[in-house]
Symmetry: C2
């Protein structure tokens, strides 16, 4: 992804930052600890390795995510949220609540039960 420099408002950047099918989910999965690529791949249902890598790289370009190569073999890379990434995470957590709200309203709570996500009403 080519980084632009002709943005006309801050939310235009935000769109570039979080656009794509998987970005919010990826960020959310990094909420509590740094993770390896394969950990992420396992925890996100339906994502392909290609998309995972691609979107992680875009998140890195915007400074939300960083990575660090652990020494030794087999190869191991830790991905983690930067301070900026953690700020976006706050927003994502709020939006997730709205998503849950929507699922409750539309009787889609099976998945919530299944994943052990709590909700009320």
């Amino acid at each position: 992804m080519k980084i632009r420099n002709d943005y006309t408002c801050p939310l235009e950047i935000v769109h570039d930052i979080i656009k794509g099918k998987w970005k919010t989910i990826i960020i959310f999965q990094m909420r509590s600890a740094s993770v390896s690529l394969s950990d992420l791949e396992k925890s996100i249902t339906g994502i392909s390795q290609k998309m995972l890598l691609q979107q992680l790289n875009e998140l890195r370009q915007f400074g939300l995510v960083d990575k660090e190569n652990a020494p030794g073999y087999p190869l191991h890379v830790d991905y983690y949220l930067t301070e900026r990434g953690q700020r976006i995470l706050k927003a994502i957590e709020i939006m997730q609540e709205v998503g849950i709200d929507y699922m409750v309203e539309h009787q889609l709570t099976d998945i919530l039960d299944q994943k052990g996500i709590c909700y009320r009403k």
Copy 2:
């Protein structure tokens, strides 16, 4: 847009809710009052009427926005955020701060000055 019912996690819904080039901006522009279509069109640089309508309708499907036809002539329709829309707005405001942060870091503050958006550092 066809509403799905096979979501596998709340953030998948969130993605459907806010995806598209203009959704976050539209929601943000409705933050303080209900607005007419033409007001929105004027306040959002670069948007076409088609996209504005389309994305407003999607927001309505997800229950973030509602509209009300004002009586009288010429026709006038008020669009406004629902309670759910206002919750998403909270998230968008946080993300906007991150966008501003990014602009400051990349010396893109001209637009901020121009729009009278305040920032520090």
